[in-house]
Subunit: 442 residues, 2 copies
């Protein structure tokens, strides 16, 4: 390697700046805390599973990364046939299959970690990204009140993250499917129409109408579908209308019954009425959702798409376990979302250090004392860094400013004699001499 | 896939049980908190880097995993030439090179995350494992007081983790190298002797002596080396002996001067005297350490080897940056250590749920009220789970027991009318009727 090495990250493998990473860690703390507050247990599966299992559960071979050793002349076959997970759902299915006898159902797990997809490199599409998932898996049956917890958890996370107004949209795919049956579409064909309807928000009514027409739907059927998706209002009036106007559509009424339970649960859990709504048009692209579906949109930034989505599925892992395991879950595309929010200016990354305080000595001889002082400040609950290089004071303040450390505590020979220190507020520039034993910041 | 799928994790890719994972998460919280308390900022680099860069910084091509798509017929070359990181040091070097203009030195970062090595599968050797690293990188120079922080951080972590008595051993490779020069070994040959000496604890004096003999050392030289490594006592007496007895060995005295500064810093930071010692025999295998080196041993479990190690290196990233960037860091092999501690019975995994409380309704009609109650308990700061499936009470208590949830709060029709609930301590089996508004647990 005599030429200059290419030090850039590989295409599709992004990284945050230090200040962005600081925000990311704060987010992860919030997400983890909320997940645990609702009793979800952390499960970390390996990054790598057997490639057969990933393909069996719907992985796209063009996007699945397999592992090979750079040099594998020794013929060790145990390295072959392994591939990197592309989501957290297949690994969850495998985990449940592996630990079936140890698991108490309903199994409530969360996972936060990277997945990889060998997609075409383009803006906003990453080949490695973190996903934050929670799922509840039942054995044979699973109460719809589990579904009801999901919007509440979503809301608690985004309220704590304080990124502005948002709304969780709730639907049940059985309602849409029932409607499709009503306008003469067989359930087996429903997926392609659901996918089209799912884009309503993104591409608009006109385009959805055109696409449905191209698929051979009559204009009457299209009008019925669109009118249905436009059903608006508070949850109760939507549910009442559905019960009244579509009384004899069995699948649809099944969906309405489930949705009503979810809405009641959401309310029992105390979610504010302006944080959720029924949106009959959402279907979610993934074809394994069978009932409840969720999307979350930032008000005023709907073009970002859903920032947290999920739903209910009837079968997590039958091919691995031979058992019926229904589940409900949500997933947040953490890496993508953060990059979107930074790009849109909704999130700002300003501070890169976790430190509350930088401790500075004016003379090298005082550095041991500065270390002692830092220990005292840490014992008092602060996050504290020492500047131990021999540099001019101005350079040291500059360092604190660049890292966003709000306070410098300076120890010099004069102060040393008096048992005091100088406390400098880096935002205002104000400084004060304080008794060392009295420093209690913030 | 008509035959039964193999659901096991690929060889070398371990996973924890739910209860072990609970312990792992608690550990990660402690480690993260201590790193941040000392002002280290989190940096997460991609799992994947360009394979040329990994090889250039000493990666073993037999152990480096490269990524290939399972199906790559489309000729998209952007997927080629990428490999999974095998440690956190090379990615750190690349990160520093990529962000050189944005970074304020000294650069203090921590990272917690997986790396992969395509090693032979065997017990205790994993192909994917988490490492927790901190490093301080200086520009041109870096104070030895940075080295002094490392044992203090190690001690704070293991004290909080409460796994028993431990000791951080500190040495400086220049002292050993100086001695080797004294007994007639050129610095260029020093590495192989250092590696032998480094195994002193593991293989014993006799074997080390034999191995050194095989390398052609005279028995006089071997005796000198072993006597030296046996120099014991408190740090001050060791330093004094070294200064007195080896006065004219320049490199050795350079090491002593550095080590003295590190010991003074460790003391200024308040580390208890029984938590660290000078151990002249440790060298650390990796050949990039140039000065201070650290190891940490669990007292009574020395056979586990070092549970947290590190040291100082003169050159992090010159091949990527063209600049001299000295650093000092420590690394904990998290996954391996936890598995070792579980296996040795030092760590116990008993509780798999984070929940403090399981809320139970005796009748399905009371489930909405149980959801409300759970929300109240969460607002009061508890981690709370609802049991919302329709099952017998005994089954629900059983669920709490299996997951290690310490308290069940039960709401029934009688209590409902009186505004009370039943609080059951799952450890003692005791239960009491409590005013709902008065539930304040723990």
């Amino acid at each position: 390697m005599s030429q200059k090495p290419n030090i850039l990250t590989p295409s599709g493998f992004p990284e945050f700046t230090p200040a962005q990473e600081r925000v990311a860690q704060d987010w992860l703390n919030v997400i983890r805390d909320v997940f645990e507050k609702y009793g979800f247990m952390p499960i970390t599966t390996p990054l790598v599973e057997r490639e057969d299992n990933l393909v069996a559960k719907g992985g796209n071979p063009k996007e699945i990364y397999v592992l090979k050793r750079l040099l594998d002349e020794d013929g060790d076959r145990s390295h072959s046939g392994n591939a990197v997970r592309f989501d957290h759902t297949v690994p969850l299915a495998l985990y449940v299959a592996r630990h079936l006898s140890e698991i108490s159902f309903p199994f409530r797990r969360y996972v936060i970690g990277p997945v990889m997809r060998g997609e075409r490199a383009q803006k906003g599409r990453y080949r490695q990204f973190d996903q934050c998932d929670i799922d509840v898996i039942g054995s044979e049956k699973l109460s719809f009140l589990n579904d009801a917890q999901m919007p509440v958890i979503i809301a608690e996370i985004f309220e704590q993250l304080n990124i502005g107004d948002f709304i969780v949209r709730i639907n049940n795919r059985k309602i849409l499917k029932g409607l499709l049956a009503l306008v003469g579409i067989a359930e087996i064909d429903a997926k392609k129409y659901l996918d089209i309807v799912d884009d309503l928000e993104k591409i608009g009514e006109k385009k959805v109408s055109d696409l449905l027409g191209k698929e051979g739907l009559s204009s009457d059927a299209i009008a019925k579908i669109l009118a249905f998706c436009e059903l608006k209002g508070d949850p109760d009036s939507i549910l009442q209308t559905l019960e009244k106007d579509y009384l004899d559509v069995e699948l649809l009424q099944e969906g309405v019954t489930e949705l009503r339970q979810v809405i009641e649960g959401v309310r029992a859990l105390g979610l504010a009425e302006d944080r959720f709504k029924i949106d009959l048009s959402i279907a979610r692209g993934l074809d394994y959702y069978t009932g409840t579906v969720f999307e979350t949109h930032l008000v005023g930034y709907e073009s970002l798409g859903s920032i947290c989505s999920g739903g209910r599925y009837e079968d997590l892992a039958q091919i691995f376990t031979g058992k019926k395991l229904p589940g409900v879950g949500i997933s947040m595309g953490f890496t993508r979302l953060l990059h979107q929010l930074f790009d849109a200016g909704i999130l700002k990354a300003e501070k890169s250090s976790p430190s509350d305080i930088l401790v500075i000595a004016t003379e090298p001889e005082l550095l041991p004392e500065a270390l002692k002082l830092a220990s005292e400040l840490r014992s008092a609950g602060n996050k504290v860094e020492n500047y131990v290089e021999v540099k001019k004071l101005a350079k040291q303040f500059d360092y604190a400013n660049k890292l966003g450390i709000g306070t410098c505590v300076v120890i010099g020979p004069k102060e040393m004699g008096k048992g005091t220190v100088i406390v400098k507020n880096m935002e205002t520039g104000e400084q004060a001499e304080v008794e060392r034993k009295d420093i209690r910041l913030q």
